[in-house]
């Protein structure tokens, strides 16, 4: 009986740990994603939109000899040469060409909502899943009747039935 109780406790603890680990993993991976990258023409070319009307990042503009692309690339090269970091270059680009030149909205003002809400959605979803799962959990008092556990014939029949059901699904 004691062994059974210990086993239950372990599983319950394991459930909590699993949730905790999953939540940590989610938060950690999102946090790591926020590391500022080093500025290069290649890396910035994926974070800046071409303004020629092609609706594509600078590196993906399909137009050969695109004047707008060449102009923005020259601007970026100049900024890199001046030793500016990536946020500063992006800020200067936005000041010159407008916010639409950035492939992602800056994380300030109303645009902060763009970055925050997916994370909020993820955590809110997790909270809902945990709450639902807890509410759905069978109360400990309504454990299976002991007779069903001890009767090997009944157990074998249940096992056989479960196998056939498992075979279909």
């Amino acid at each position: 009986m004691l062994a059974v109780r210990r086993s239950r406790l372990r599983i319950s603890d394991l459930g909590h740990r699993t949730f905790f680990l999953l939540a940590c993993l989610a938060v950690a991976t999102i946090a790591v994603a926020a590391d500022p990258p080093k500025p290069t023409l290649e890396s910035l070319g994926n974070k800046v939109q071409c303004t020629c009307g092609c609706v594509a990042p600078l590196n993906q503009c399909p137009h050969f000899d695109c004047a707008q692309k060449a102009e923005i690339q020259a601007f970026i090269k100049k900024e890199i040469a001046e030793g500016k970091d990536e946020p500063a270059i992006l800020q200067n680009l936005a000041a010159r060409y407008g916010l639409r030149v950035l492939s992602a909205p800056p994380a300030r003002g109303f645009n902060l909502a763009a970055w925050i809400l997916p994370g909020v959605g993820l955590l809110l979803g997790l909270a809902i899943v945990v709450v639902i799962a807890r509410r759905w959990r069978r109360p400990e008092a309504v454990a299976p009747a002991p007779v069903a556990v001890h009767d090997p014939k009944v157990l074998a029949a249940i096992e056989e039935e479960m196998k056939s059901v498992d075979g279909i699904r």
Binding site: G15, V55, P62, F64, R100, S103, A114, P118, V129
Partner: protein, 680 residues
């Protein structure tokens, strides 16, 4: 032919509208006669839509340039293969194509259910024809492909026949592009069938397992086709757009991903309902969401509310879709709320560490992904409305937000199937996960030592190995058990194991495909590129490849002029291959396009683009990319498709049980039919 098409459109609209009313009345009065009449209207809708499609195709193939749509999207010298595709190249034709595919699904549903699901069918037909009516109205009144070409001269308007058409968009003149839109549309449109069954089940209060079982395959088929369409679209972007990638998080790409993700969530959560009678409300909600997102995707592509390279020209079609989406949402959500009492869970969760909770977490991640992609796609519109500011939400945003979620999903892809139903003991966890974890850790350390230091690629490879060992271990354990019990050799045991439970093992194959897809995605972290101006005799080096330019040739076909660069490639100083990228200029549309040369391999693709010609020097501007592991994206996609097809095949146990049932009770089916007949 314009008249034939117009008459066919009017007839199909009338039949669809009749189908809505007759279906609803037939269901309400429980009259088989009226229900049959509604079903015949659905078949008539199919016939009339087919006639309209045939009329338009005949004009396209016959170069009938007095039709405005044909003159706008086709030309005389266009290859017949591409002329067929003109049907879905423009707004009007593609809406007609959408309507026709819907009518095909409707006819198939009527045919398949002529003797079953009789209580549901009147409402199923009514919902299907309701959607059909909406699209028929759009095709007839807003985007009619049967308009004549007119010219206005001296204040009078006259019918006019153009000498030649404007031609098909050059970007669409690529072989997989001919299959890509039909696949995508089949996926989008197909989601209407599970929605129709869900609505019918809610209306009739027949919310047991029946509608779920019927709709499972009807969801898997469009899910498979949508996945196939997405893959073909990615392949098209890779081979035609010439920027070295296959997924750019474009709004239209996102629109196709959304119903696929919510459909994936449904295909998982449906198992909990079948197995444990749980998540009933959730499953109906997912069906509604998937259908809503399918229509939303169509709306996004056609309304012009977001900027996209894939979108159709801006048109006034958006408000009609917005109203239709609102109607769908109001109707379905109200119905769902009214039937909450009939959707109570039959069981409770035994443990937080169980297959059920694994599915819950899977649904959590998938829906969080749906929300993130939906939010990112619509944010520019929201920002414009709130702040009157034009912002762009592109790859940097989506990569940052979705990659962590994708990795969590990958983890669950391996861990979920190894959890037992109801409750998983600690011993079972240790038994199932020790080997995969140890193998993944060893591989992870090896990769780190080999120089894979970036977090995301490293995590992807680590999790991919963990999941692959988990899933392959299931095949191994199952086959070993059969080898012992049935005395079969490994290959026979593996085959029998899979065919005995196609759904489970088909699902595992899909998971292996997902692993391969993630491995392919991770390869993007290691891509490299270079650019140079070249003429005959010039060399361009990238990593261990050297491109030797042998010269440039030019020529023309009836449809386009081309300039072709000829390259001999050496790898590590040894002869490797020859490659011939092209720049084409299509005569009818007066548009240029690139024809990328790709040398694919399992480890990396060598990708060469002739970007253009320098006017002053006459040199060719060449862009070269080395794209590691891209091949695994296509292989992974194919494995996902094969796994889905396997999961759709009835398993041996299922067939045996069906036969056993027939033998035990030959009259059962007849009795069952009589019992479910609305007349009884």
């Amino acid at each position: 032919m314009n008249q034939v098409g117009t008459v066919a459109l009017i007839a199909s609209l009338a039949l669809a509208a009749y189908g809505v009313i007759a279906g609803a009345v037939g269901g309400k009065l429980r009259s088989p006669r009226i229900t049959r009449s509604a079903e015949r209207a659905a078949l008539g809708f199919f016939l009339m839509s087919t006639l309209a499609v045939v009329a338009l195709e005949r004009m396209i193939l016959g170069n009938d340039f007095h039709n405005a749509y044909v003159a706008e999207h086709s030309n005389r010298d266009l290859a017949t293969f591409y002329k067929v595709a003109v049907l879905w190249a423009g707004q009007e034709g593609s809406l007609l194509f959408w309507t026709w595919l819907l009518s095909v699904y409707g006819a198939l549903v009527v045919w398949q259910n002529s003797r079953k699901n009789r209580e549901l069918m009147p409402y199923v037909v009514s919902v299907l024809m309701g959607v059909g009516t909406f699209f028929s109205l759009l095709v007839f009144f807003v985007a009619n492909p049967f308009q004549e070409l007119f010219v206005t001269a001296g204040g009078s308007t006259q019918a006019f026949t153009a000498a030649d058409g404007n031609g098909l968009n050059p970007l669409l003149q690529y072989h997989p592009m001919v299959i890509h839109p039909p696949m995508l549309y089949l996926g989008y449109v197909g989601m209407v069938v599970p929605f129709a069954f869900a609505m019918a089940a809610l209306i009739t209060r027949q919310l047991g397992d029946n509608w779920i079982r019927t709709t499972r395959r009807w969801t898997m088929a469009p899910w498979l086709l949508l996945g196939c369409g997405i893959l073909l679209g990615a392949n098209w972007a890779y081979a035609v757009l010439g920027w070295g990638g296959y997924w750019g998080w474009d709004p239209v790409e996102n629109a196709s991903l959304l119903p696929w993700l919510s459909g994936t969530a449904f295909l998982h959560s449906v198992m909990i309902q079948e197995k444990r009678g749980m998540l009933k409300v959730w499953n109906v909600a997912l069906v509604i969401l998937t259908f809503f997102l399918s229509i939303f995707g169509t709306f996004l592509t056609r309304s012009g509310i977001v900027s996209s390279v894939h979108a159709f020209a801006q048109s006034g079609i958006g408000p009609f879709f917005a109203v239709f989406l609102a109607i769908i949402l109001f109707f379905s959500v109200t119905l769902l709320f009214l039937r909450l009492d009939h959707l109570k869970s039959e069981n409770r969760l035994d443990s937080m560490v169980s297959r059920e909770s694994g599915f819950l977490f899977n649904n959590w991640i998938l829906l969080a992904l749906v929300f993130a992609v939906f939010w990112g796609t619509l944010f520019p519109v929201i920002s414009k409305a709130v702040e009157n500011a034009t912002v762009t939400v592109g790859p940097p945003f989506f990569n940052k937000v979705t990659i962590p979620m994708g990795l969590l999903l990958l983890l669950l892809t391996g861990a979920g199937p190894l959890l037992a139903w109801r409750k998983t003991s600690f011993q079972s966890l240790r038994r199932n996960f020790t080997v995969p974890l140890v193998v993944a850790l060893v591989a992870g350390v090896t990769l780190f030592a080999a120089g894979v230091r970036d977090l995301y690629p490293w995590m992807t490879f680590f999790l991919a190995i963990f999941v692959a060992v988990c899933v392959l271990g299931e095949f191994w354990k199952g086959a070993r058990t059969r080898m012992r019990t049935a005395r079969e050799n490994f290959a026979v045991a593996l085959y029998n194991l899979t065919m005995r439970n196609t759904r489970r093992y088909g699902g595992y194959v899909v998971h292996i495909g997902i692993v391969l897809l993630f491995v392919g995605f991770a390869g993007q972290a290691f891509k490299s590129d270079t650019k140079g101006s070249m003429q005959a005799g010039d060399l361009l080096r990238i990593k261990n490849y050297t491109l030797h330019c042998d010269g440039l040739t030019s020529g023309e076909t009836p449809n386009y002029e081309y300039t072709r660069a000829l390259f001999t490639i050496t790898k590590n100083g040894e002869a490797f291959t020859t490659m011939h990228p092209e720049k084409r200029f299509y005569k009818a549309s007066q548009q240029p396009t690139s024809y990328v040369a790709i040398h694919p391999s399992l480890s990396e693709d060598l990708y060469v683009v002739l970007a253009g010609m320098e006017q002053d020097t006459g040199k060719a501007v060449i862009q070269v990319f080395i794209n590691p592991l891209v091949m695994w994206v296509w292989i992974g996609g194919i494995v996902v498709l094969l796994g889905t097809m396997l999961a759709m095949v009835p398993s041996r146990v299922e067939r045996e049980m069906a036969e056993q049932k027939k033998v035990q009770s030959p009259g059962a089916e007849v009795r069952s039919r009589a019992k479910h007949s609305p007349e009884s």
